[in-house]
């Protein structure tokens, strides 16, 4: 907070931004390892359907493509928000951040619908090891997107109330790193869980 009221030198602000970006990148790397272990678990257990339905039996490919497009577009719009933040264009930043939020929440909505459908068909995470690992992996990703959306709401408030200060910009950069990363994890979920679910 004190950084907002005291004017630091431009060099110091740049250093702070770079330091935070790198620190946040390290966190993203740790999240990579988390998802890698969930992927490994899914890879081992995906065939263990215990006589129950497989992911391929339950999921709809057009639906999953829709989810993918929503998340990919939201990654794009978050990039645009950063672009305009660097140019100090506050209203454009707000517009693209709200677009990102809408797309992200739509993705979560679709995923909740998919999970509800699975559970309605009796295919909850207790049905088989395959489904347990599916819900663990895809559910963890979805939870990341949901929590990221809440974070985005908070950042939107910061931008509205405090404008695009150095401090707010740093937060935006961290958020956009997180959001891009979530779309990248989804590429692999889309590929290994859904596209290759038939193998």
């Amino acid at each position: 907070m004190i950084g907002d009221t005291i004017t630091l030198t431009k060099e110091h602000e740049t250093e702070k931004t770079e330091a935070l970006s790198f620190a946040f990148w390290i966190y993203i790397m740790s999240d990579c390892v988390l998802f890698a272990s969930l992927f490994a678990t899914f890879a081992v257990l995906s065939g263990s359907t215990f006589g129950g339905p497989s992911i391929a039996d339950l999921s709809s490919m057009p639906f999953v493509l829709g989810e993918t497009m929503l998340l990919l577009t939201s990654s794009f719009t978050s990039g645009l928000a950063i672009l305009f933040a660097h140019k100090q264009k506050k209203s454009l930043v707000l517009f693209w951040l709200i677009a990102t939020l809408a797309l992200g929440l739509s993705f979560v909505g679709m995923e909740v619908t998919e999970f509800a459908h699975f559970i309605g068909e009796g295919a909850s995470f207790t049905r088989s090891a395959s489904l347990s690992s599916f819900f663990a992996l895809v559910g963890t990703h979805g939870l990341h997107v949901l929590l990221g959306s809440i974070w985005l709401l908070v950042i939107l408030t910061h931008v509205l109330l405090r404008g695009l200060s150095h401090s707010t910009l740093r937060k935006l950069i961290s958020f956009s790193l997180f959001w891009h990363f979530l779309d990248i994890v989804w590429i692999f979920i889309f590929t290994f869980v859904y596209l290759l679910g038939n193998l």
Binding site: E13, E18, M29, S37, L72, L80, H166, L177, L199
Partner: protein, 126 residues
């Protein structure tokens, strides 16, 4: 708070509109390509798996370069170094898991001996 020069905040690297638009279009193309090849059954089995995984890795690189601007900016070497370390850990975790679990599974197979191949099927409990 007004910022006098925002040029210093470009420390993240080349964030330009072109980069995001190109990245977006390439990602859509790669996604639709993988989707189309799979759902239209143009390939199947191992060739499909290899092709689809390849497209995923390419899209990863596209998003790294055009969205995350990895490899550009002042601390690029550090970012890449951290990523290289993470890839190593991931390779050990995923590769090691698959290797070990495959071996464990293989060693659990019932042995083929004359007159001893009785497997009692489990009844599903509700």
């Amino acid at each position: 708070m007004n910022i006098e020069t925002h040029k210093t905040l470009h420390s993240k690297g080349e964030a330009s509109l072109a980069s995001y638009v190109i990245g977006f279009i390439l990602s859509i193309a790669l996604t639709l390509g993988a989707y189309g090849i799979t759902t239209n059954h143009i390939l199947s089995g191992t060739p499909l798996a290899a092709f689809v995984v390849l497209l995923a890795i390419i899209q990863l690189l596209v998003q790294f370069i055009f969205f995350l601007h990895v490899g550009k900016g002042k601390s690029a070497k550090w970012n890449l170094g951290a990523f290289g370390f993470t890839l190593t850990i991931v390779a050990i975790v995923v590769g090691g898991t698959l290797w070990i679990m495959h071996h464990l599974n293989a060693n659990m197979m019932p042995r083929m001996e004359a007159g001893k191949n009785t497997v009692t099927p489990q009844t599903l409990r509700d």
